[in-house]
Symmetry: C2
Subunit: 211 residues, 2 copies
DNA sequence: TCGCAATGTTAACGATGTAAACACTGCCGC
DNA sequence: GCGGCAGTGTTTACATCGTTAACATTGCGA
């Protein structure tokens, strides 16, 4: 692996990475239905069963990809937070939401995989669980901070977090599935921004007694 | 078809209905991955390719099932509305949300199918599109009524609707995917009710200027 | 240098979606 | 009443897929 040129020097080297990489491309390009282990192996120029040297089975591969997805999601949110170090707790919450939605609409197939039916058995893949929990933890932490500082009313943090997560998750999936058809809806590039105002106002006034 | 006993008298009769029915059972019972045309035909006691007399292909079958799902969803919401004829506009909105979430968690596999990846090409199935649009229309109408009556601030109806839909859809999918793990979260039976308070308060105060 | 462990390969199995050609059957017009 | 046609179902066949088992290669460490 020393003499070969630059990127992937599989054939001897990092087949694993090459597989994940091409899988991701195929995913975003042709949708998740078009992703087959054999086709993948074909694309990489390797035997069909070589895949099994690196992944126990298809679900294992998908779990690895999903894991990278959550890592990317966390990274996106972290990066955005870092750009605005002096944001108050509410603003931080909003930034997280923006990052979340933006990541989701930027990587629709990847996002779908992360929450796809095959991933329900997430428990079987500890790394995946960790990565997912970390993403969620960022959100929950931000909510907790906002509650602690009094910027958000003293509603149980898990409930508030669930509400916020439902919002961004719902908006992301609806957008990705093309169900937000009308002209009245913001272009995906601005989806995060538009969502921002909604979330901010909703959260700000949440849990003041309704009646 | 005259001499046979009672329900399905396929073999000559309504194979189509029998297929959809058993497919639904299999769906809710063993998850969507376990649903194969051949297995389905086997269960019904018919040849594998008989299915193609009634459905162009697997997607066509799934579209039919998804269509019935949206019809069921609309029916659920309609029924709940009917139970409370004097509800004001906000209360009606809340009832819709409750009905939505309850239907989703009561039929997880069905709900997942309705929004599954295979359904992205919804446009190819006009009946499906109609059914889905009708469900959404109920929500949008309720939002419009609330805005018109002044119970909801004069924010563009599509945006408000999207927000509400995102909430219920996000909550439903997260719950169905088992991602709302903690004890702090309401049992699925009460998910709709708990959600109610969140939604009501959030909507009530939405779009009052945040700053 | 030998050998082992990592990595790939070929061959094979069962299951699946789907197409093509053929068979039954009950109704419709003559 | 009957002949044929349309609707419905069957058998056969094919390509593809996920996965297993047995075998081959190869490079690194003792």
């Amino acid at each position: 692996m020393s003499a070969t040129q630059e990127i992937d020097s599989y054939h001897h080297g990092n087949l694993r990475r090459a597989l994940i990489g091409t899988a991701l491309n195929a995913l975003e390009q042709d949708g998740p239905a078009a992703l087959s282990l054999r086709g993948l192996a074909r694309s990489v120029g390797v035997s069909a069963t070589a895949v099994y040297r690196h992944f126990a089975n298809k679900d294992d591969l998908l779990a690895a990809i999903a894991t990278e997805g959550f890592e990317g999601l966390s990274a996106e949110m972290t990066a955005r937070l870092a750009q605005e170090p002096n944001a108050d707790t509410l603003r931080r919450l909003v930034i997280l939401g923006e990052g979340y939605v933006n990541y989701a609409v930027a990587h629709p197939a990847h996002y779908r995989l992360m929450f796809g039916k095959r991933m329900v058995e997430r428990a079987a893949y500890p790394t995946l669980s960790k990565a997912a929990a970390h993403s969620y933890g960022m959100l929950e932490q931000a909510v907790a901070d906002a509650v602690a500082s009094g910027d958000l009313p003293a509603v149980p943090v898990p409930l508030l977090s669930t509400l916020a997560w439902s919002l961004v998750h719902g908006l992301s999936t609806l957008s990705n599935d093309g169900l937000l058809n009308d002209k009245q809806l913001p272009a995906s590039a601005e989806l995060g921004k538009t969502f921002t105002h909604m979330l901010a106002t909703a959260l700000k006034h949440l849990a003041q007694p309704a009646e």
